[in-house]
Each structure stands twice: as C-alpha cells, then as structure tokens.
Amino acid sequence: MKPAPFGYERPRDLQAALAVLAEADASAKIIAGGQSLGPMLNLRLVEPQLIVDITGLAELKQVERRGDELVLGACVTHADIEDGRIPDVTHGAMRDVAGNIAYRAVRNRGTVGGSLSHADPSADWVSALSALDAKLTLRSLAGPRTVTMQDFIVGALESALRAGEIVESIHVPAMPASAHWGYVKACRKTGEFAHAIGAIMIDPSAATARVVIGAIDSAPIVITNAAELFGGRVAGNYKERFDERVADAILAKAGVANAVHRHIHVNVLKHAVREAAAWA
C-alpha cells in the first residue's frame, strides 16, 4: 500500500496556497494532518498530481474570541482543543468531543478544518459543529464566503467546497450558560468510527433545541427546531418528554430504511438527551 507518485508543495502563506490550488484545480489535494488523506493515498483511493501542504500557514492556526463567537483557524488540531490550548466558548462541550475523536496519535495531527473538508458522515466535528450551529469561512482567490454547517456538508464525503477553495476558519457561537449539551456516539470499539451519533444543544429556558442525528451514511439530520421531539414544547422535563417514535419517523423519512439501524440511532439520541439532562 504505497501512494502513486505525486508532486508536493508547502506554500508559505495563504495567498500562495490559494494561487497554487487555483492553478492545479482538480488534480491537487490539500494535506493538513494527513489522518484521512494518508490512508487514502496509501490505498490509492486518490492519486492527486499535487499535494499542497498547508501546515505552514500561520493564518490557519489563529484562534480568537470575536464578540459572541470563537473563530478557529482550520489547522487547529483536535489535541489543541482537547488539551485546552484554545479558549472554549462551549463550557467544555468541544473539549469532550475532541478528546474522544479516534486515538490520541490521530488527534495530535488531525485538524478541524481537515475533518470538515473530508465530510465523513461518521466524523465527530461534522455532527458536533452542526449541533453547535457553527459557520465556516471558505476562501479562494475570489475571496471569502461564509456558510452554515448544514450548507457545507452536502452528503457523504461531499462538501460545498468549490475548486480552488479552502476552509479558512470555523466560527463557533458562544453557548449560552443556560444551554445543556449532550453528545453520544456508538462505536464498535473505542477509537473507531461511530455508527450512530446523537448530539443535542437544548435550552429549556429559551425553549429551543437543536438536535443532530449523525453517522447515517449521508449528511447528518439537523433539526433546528426540535420541539416536535419533545411533545411540541422544549421544557425542563425534556428527558421524560423525548418521543422515540418521532425520532424514528424522522429517521425513516430521511431514508434510513433499516429498522435495526433506526433503533440504534434513536437510542443513541435518547442517551444524548439523558446526558444533556445531566449537564450541570
């Protein structure tokens, strides 16, 4: 399992990287942590003519709190978040998610931007950042544009990135102190890809709930107004009000035809709801 021959460039700044990407278009692949691309290269699932290494771009490692949101550069690693090297506007939710991605060795190198660009349905950030209502700034030579997570994740391994475009930063809204967070995933083994993810950001005091059902072989199901899952009203007793049959129907409507898969997804979501209820 050795890659096919490829060219390699490591641009010094973002403009140079964008120029290289614009020139190379479809025959180039970006490498950041290499945790997804590395195996794909080795298995010859992809054979790019050129690999553009963006780990030298200081612009993509910047982190700042801007008003009500945290702006993370795309090359921030999962370990940076797990270890608390960046500010946390989610009261520990992001740290918990980060610390359970794959294995520590993967987390040392894998980046948030890379994970999102790859758009694997089982990836933790795909579901978690959808639940956190994050937005992404994408940039090409033509300039920047901002998209929501729902618009960014188009399908399994399919993002809204255009040719010559790169994820520049991730904008995470500060989680209200009154919000509860639950994130549960079912894995066959510790560290492996999830086969079901349930994520919920629920604020009974504001009567809002945002629910994500992930790892369904396509883009995650994002429910921005999840009151229907709680008997029509998001209230303090939402754990008891959680309606499995509504969750099951949502999954069936989204194309999850297999009753066993739906059962597992519904229960993972139920566990996430319980976890949120225990969030203190």
Binding site: R188, K189, G191
Partner: protein, 794 residues
C-alpha cells in the same frame, strides 16, 4: 485466585530457572527495544522489491494480461515461470478431490487476490506503480460465494474437472439409532464467520541466491521452515541440498505462517532469474483480501439427551468453507475432517454420527488458525448443551458436570478413539462455576439493572489435542507427517550450551523455555543457553511449530539430548575427579563425587582444549549430541480449560460488555507459567475477536468486504478484559516432565462462553443467537424480531 497483576519477582542470580520457573523471556530484550530482525528489516545489497498484480475478480477466465512495453523486463506471468510446478496438497482420505494451485494464475482465477503477475522495482512504491500499469482482460464467471449454495446442482464450479465443489465428504457413525428415542431432542443451525488471522506482522519473503554455497536462500517468516523447504523443492524441481530456508524473528503466526505461499515460490524463481535479492512483504490489504482466511463453519446439529441432562448422542452435518485451493501442507481436508473427530468434546458420548463437507468456493484457501476446528466445534457443542440445560430445567453447569469424562476414567478412549491422557475436567468446571459465582449472577438477574442492561453468565469447556503424532497424522495422508523430533545439544569450549531444534518460535518464547528445559537437566545457567532455530541449514529436520507440539516434542528432544550429554560429561568428570564413573552425579552444572566436584565448564575445556586428559574410553562423539524423541504414546496430549464469563447486554444499542472472565486451565506441567499466561491472554483476545468482532463477509460476486482494519475489527486493549486465571496441573503420563501442548486453548472456548452468556442474558426476551460474531446489529435485530413475533397479528 491469583491476581495476575502481581507477578512474583522472577529471575536474578540463584532464582529457579528450570521447569516451572516464571522467567522473563530472553527474547523480549531485543523485541521490546525494536532490535528484532524480521523479514522486512533484512538489508541485502542490490535487493529489489516485489508487488503483485492480483485478481480483482473472484472467478474469471484470463483472456489476456497487458504489460506496457516499457515494463516488459520487470513483469512476470505464468508463461515466464514455465517449469515451476503448482502447489499441490493432496490428502489420502478416501474421496479427496485433487486440485493444484498455480503459483501465478493460469487459465482462470479462482479468488479475489489471486496472483496474476509479479512486478519488481527498486522500491515497493515503484513496483506498485508498475503493477498498476498492468491491465487484465478477464471474463467474469459466476462466483461460488456460499458454501451451501456451492453444493446445489447447477452451481458454478471452482474446479471444473471435479463435477462438483466438494473437496471431501466424511462420514462417521457409532450407534446413532440408539439415541433416537431420547426424550430431549434439540436441533439448531449454528455458524461461525470467516475470519482473517491478523498476526501483527504479515507474511514476508526475501529470496537470494548464495553462489558460494550454490544455494537458494529464502528468508521467510515461517513456522515450519523444513516443511517450506519440502514444498519449495517440489515446486521448483530443485534438490533440497540447494535450498536453505531461514526464518528470522516472526511476529505472530497462528497458522498463517505455516503454509507454503505462492509468493515464496515466485520470489525464489525471480531471484534466480534476475540475479539479485528480492523481497515481498504482505501489506494489511493483501492479508485481509488475499490471504489467511479461517474459521468459517456451519453446523446442522441435533443433540439427544435424557431428562436428567445426560447425553444420549449427537447427530450433525457440518460444512467448512475451504476456499479455492488446498493449501500446503495441511490440505483442504483438515478442518472439516477434524470437526468429525472432535465434536464429542470432553464428554461421555454413547452414540454419535457426523457427516462433514469440505467445500470449495471462490475465496482464499482456509488455513488452520489457532484452535483449528476446535473453536467452531466448541461453539456448536457448548451452545447446544445450554439449550439441553434449558429444556431439562437444569443449570448449564450441572449438565456439563453430568456428562464430562471423569478423572477416574483417565486415560480415556472416547467414541472417536481420541485417547485423553489425563485430567480432571469436572474439577475445572466446578472451579470456574465457583469463581464466577453463578448464584450471585442469578440474584443480580432477578433484581434487574438500573441502566436497563441485561446480565448473563455463560460457560464453556473443551479439551485440546496437542503434539499430534505419527499415527494420528499418517491417517490424514497429507504431505506432512510428524515422526521423531530431534534436538542437538552442544557444550561450547567455555561451558555454554548451544541447542539446535527444528521448531520455530513465532511468539512462544522458546529461546527461554527450551533453555529452561536444558537447565533442568544440565544445570547450565539459562543466560548461557543459546537456541538456534528457524534455519534449515543449522537445525535438525522437524515438521515445525503447529498444533501445540513444540514443548512436548522439541522440549522432549532437548531433554533427551541434554541427558545424553550429561552422561558423557559425567564420564569425563569422573576421570578428572579420579572417581568411579558409576557413582558421580550431575547437579547444578557440576559433576560431583565424594572427593570433590568439577564444573561442566571445566569438563568442556578438557574435551576441547586438553584431550590428553580425557579417559581412554571417552565417547568419541564428545560433547555434541543429537537425539530423537517421541512421547510414549503418539496419540497426543490433552490440555483443557473451563471458561466462564459474565456479560452485560444493552438492548438499546446491542453492545456486549464483558464484566468478568474466568479461566481455569490445565496444561499439564508448565515449563514457564508466565509464558503460558501470556499465551492464554493472547488466545483470549483472539477468542473475543471471534465472539464479538471479526468477520470477513463476501458479497455475491465473491468480493471480500472488510478490506481495511476500519471494517475488519480486531479487539484492542479496551476490548479485552483482564481474565482471572486459575491453574491446575495434571501431568501427562506420556511426556517428558508431564508437559502438554497449551498454545491454542485460549482461542477455543471464548466464543462459546460469550455466546452462552449473551443468550442467558437475552433468553427472557425470546432471543437466541447462534452465530459468530455477535455484533450490536445482530443483537438488536434478534430483539426486534422476537418482539415482532410476540405481537398479535394486526
């Protein structure tokens, strides 16, 4: 019960070093520091790397192989290897159908991953680039992907000249009609999934030609180098004196490295053609898709019993999916035929009938994986006994105790003429039941769990034949029959000891354990005992390491050679002491008489450096002895163990968590109990893999579907609990020191125990799982199906 985390301190000057000592392994110093030398570490001047073009289809005619002109000199196909014979492993069992495996595909391909062309380049990446440029013109044929469909009339044929897809059918019966009126009769279909053995190190080969010795030298991670030499000699048409196999450090074998590979033959041919060394190492994708399949069994089984749970008989039809080719040397007969001979297990069995089919399919050949047929057999038998218990209204443990062969019956010849040498099977089961505390599990089950999970307890027990001898193996008629085992022992001029044996360590720690045997006999410090293994030029012939035979056979041979060496040393020592030779003793590395002692080191010095001081009647053979050995009976040894496990099953997600795992094992006298514990842990991990994780599924086109470790799940440290181990030691009456073969047992019992525990947990829900692995999907599917079955019709 011993807490395995608190090993007593071992080693150090003066600490015991013989049989029974928990010595840390000598080989670990280099292996744990990354200083081992595996096939991939070998450096040779001019060495180039090989990659293979492998068939992407399971069953197809080869119309053409297109090699780009620029690569013509670097690509080789079957047409180039004219004169190289196919691999041929024929069994003498009546009705065995003969087939051959061309080392590079000829005419058609019969499995995904079959070798079609060999590409060589200075780097592996370069060789893969060349392989990617070769295109194949293949005409698809219907794939034989299911072993039972393969037997239906009209199925495509893997080997056309057979007329069907059955390598071998066996039939065995004793008195089954006497069982048919039994009041309890339970029938089921039970199956174990196809797996890939997954040693940490894949296979690998470096081939080079030594012109000084006029010898092909093959470095190969092999369990049985002398057998590899036999097979290679046949395929290449080269005399054995011109072939040397060297097996260096080997990172796990489990049976995968006991087979002659087409890659070994191809690279041997290639190095002689190209005039420089060549290497191929198996990558993980090759391992999973093209190589080491094992374990796929199907049972249609009926167990007959009386109301008190006593067995009246078993009637079974078993099928093994043997893949496309008969692998060398074990052949495609072994696994299925073995099912019939061991299905009665460690139980008294009044009547028995078993029919087996070894079926050819378009998959990799099936190889004997740690435990071989025993894992599937234990799974089928032990699941059935729990069902008998349920029908009889008895605890599963009680049914075992009522049927296990009893200690006072040992040695015992069972219904298939297996000679159980020694043991107390009921005691092992009693200890396991007590340790796992079945009563408290029942109380916990009645109470229920706050988190909604369901608790279950499961047991299993087996006995494992090891060190199979001549009479057992000659019956199979395969290209390998073990005979006497030889070992050479030589004192060096400075009193060290060199041992040469034909078995080979691929994780068993034999550099340490065989040194312990030598120490037991001669008293030489283990640090000064050097093992030479794995090299056909340097070691006596042996069928190698397989079937839990090495300690019994090579250990016995080492003991025998050392004893003879000791006798010769005594006579020289007696002369040096001016003592009557009849009344000196050898103790702690010294020859002692009433008037003094002389060390083995001094005796060696005399033989090698001062022959003028030797007795006139000194044995001219000196201090180098080669002895042969066989146990008193060659019907093999029988180690055994009882496993008991408590699980928690989550009906919401289908997850199974192991809460407690108990193993009570009896491997006879243990040479190094710490090494044995390690083998049990490793076997347990593999057993858990079989029970809960590992499966290589194939689609209807014969495509293997779990092509990376993301899909082929192997248990890791978070999936394997620390078991509680208890040991019994019932010596074998037939072996040196009473040792028995013990290497495979850990991998035999866990699937049965875990499945029984899951079924115990879920039986109140109407769920019964009769296949491995027990995945979350299958648990939930069974729960939902049982729920649907209960609902009244709409």
């Amino acid at each position: 019960m011993r807490n395995e985390r608190d090993f007593p301190s071992a080693g150090g000057a003066g600490a015991a070093q013989g049989v029974g000592a928990r010595l840390p392994r000598k080989e670990d110093d280099r292996l744990m520091r990354g200083r081992g030398q595996f096939v991939a570490d070998i450096r040779l001047a001019g060495l180039q790397e090989v990659a293979f073009v492998r068939s992407p289809l399971a069953h197809a005619l080869i119309r053409e192989i297109h090699v780009p002109h620029r690569h013509r000199a670097s690509v080789f196909t079957a047409a180039d290897l004219a004169g190289v014979k196919p691999i041929r492993a024929v069994s003498g069992l009546p009705g065995f159908k003969i087939s051959e495996q061309p080392v590079l595909a000829t005419g058609k391909v019969r499995q995904v991953g079959e070798l079609v062309a060999m590409c060589v380049a200075p780097t592996r990446a370069g060789a893969e680039d060349i392989a990617a440029a070769v295109t194949l013109d293949l005409e698809d044929l219907p794939a034989v992907y299911d072993m039972r469909k393969a037997r239906e009339p009209g199925s495509a044929l893997v080997h056309e000249h057979w007329g069907d897809n059955v390598f071998l059918e066996t039939n065995f019966e004793v008195d089954i009609s006497s069982a048919l009126d039994a009041p309890i009769r339970v029938s089921r279909e039970i199956s174990t999934a196809r797996q890939c053995m997954s040693p940490l190190e894949g296979r690998g080969v470096v081939a080079t030609f030594d012109h000084r010795l006029d010898q092909l030298t093959l470095y190969s991670g092999a369990q049985m180098p002398h057998i590899t030499r036999n097979g290679l000699s046949d395929c290449l048409g080269m005399e054995q004196g011109r072939i040397r196999i060297i097996s260096p450090d080997v990172g796990g074998g489990f049976g995968h490295k006991g087979i002659l590979l087409p890659e070994e033959v191809c690279l041997s041919w290639l190095t002689m053609r190209r005039g420089h060394p060549v290497r191929w190492t198996e990558d993980r994708r090759e391992h999973l898709t093209a190589s080491s399949n094992c374990r796929e069994h199907h049972y249609n089984i009926t167990v007959y019993a009386d109301r008190d749970g006593r067995l009246r008989g078993i009637d079974c039809e078993a099928t093994v999916d043997s893949g496309a080719y008969s692998s060398y040397p074990f052949s495609a007969c072994l696994e299925a035929a073995q099912v019939a001979s061991i299905l009665p297990g460690p139980y008294l069995m009044p009547a028995y009938r078993c029919r087996t089919f070894s079926v050819a399919t378009n998959k990799c050949p099936i190889l004997p994986y740690r435990g071989v047929a025993r894992t599937g057999v234990c799974f089928a038998l032990e699941l059935m006994l729990d069902l008998v218990a349920a029908e009889a209204g008895l605890e599963p443990g009680e049914v075992r105790l009522r049927n296990l062969v009893r200690p006072e019956q040992m040695p015992f010849d069972n219904i298939t003429n297996k000679h159980f040498d020694s043991g107390d099977y009921p005691e092992a089961m009693r200890r396991a039941l007590t340790a796992v505390d079945v009563e408290s599990v029942r109380a916990r089950q009645r109470k229920g769990e706050a988190d909604g999970r369901r608790i279950g307890v499961g047991i299993s027990i087996y006995c494992e034949q090891g060190a199979h001898g001549t009479s057992v193996y000659s019956g199979w008629g395969i290209p390998m029959v073990p005979g006497h085992e030889q070992a050479s022992a030589r004192l060096t001029p400075d009193g060290g000891l060199e041992l040469r044996v034909g078995v080979h360590s691929h994780g068993q720690g034999m550099e340490t354990t065989l040194a312990q045997v030598a120490h037991e006999v001669l008293g030489v410090d283990v640090a000064r005992v050097h093992l030479i293994l794995g090299d056909t030029a340097m070691t006596p012939y042996s069928t190698g390491t397989w079937g839990s035979r090495s300690m019994v056979m090579a250990g016995g041979a080492v003991a025998t050679a050392c004893r003879e060496l000791g006798e010769r040393a005594k006579r020289i020592g007696a002369k040096l002491l001016q003592h009557d030779p009849a009344s000196v003793v050898l103790q702690n590395g010294e020859v002692r008489g009433v008037n003094g002692s002389v060390t083995l080191k001094e005796i060696a010095y005399t033989w090698y450096r001062r022959p003028q001081d030797l007795p006139a009647d000194v044995d001219p053979g000196g201090l180098e002895v080669t002895s042969g050995y066989k146990p008193q009976r060659d019907s093999g040894t029988f180690s055994y163990a009882a496993h008991a496990v408590v699980v928690a099953v989550d009906p919401d997600l289908g997850d199974v968590e192991i809460l407690d795992y108990v193993i009570v094992e009896d491997g006879g006298v243990l040479v190094n109990p710490m090494v044995v514990d390690g083998q049990i842990y490793g076997g347990l991990a593999q057993g858990i893999g079989t029970a809960l994780y590992e499966e290589m599924p194939f689609d209807a086109a014969g495509q293997p579907l779990a092509t990376t470790l993301a899909d082929y799940l192997l248990p890791g440290p978070t999936e394997v609990p620390m078991p509680r181990l208890d040991h019994m030691e019932t010596p074998s009456p037939y072996t040196q020191f009473g040792v028995k073969g013990i290497g495979e047992g850990g991998a035999i019992a866990p699937p049965a125990a875990i499945a029984n525990a899951v079924n115990d947990a879920l039986r109140p829900l109407g769920v019964e799982l009769m296949q491995s692995p027990i995945t979350p999907y299958r648990v939930v599917e069974a729960i939902l199906a049982a729920r649907d079955a209960e609902r009244p019709a709409a």
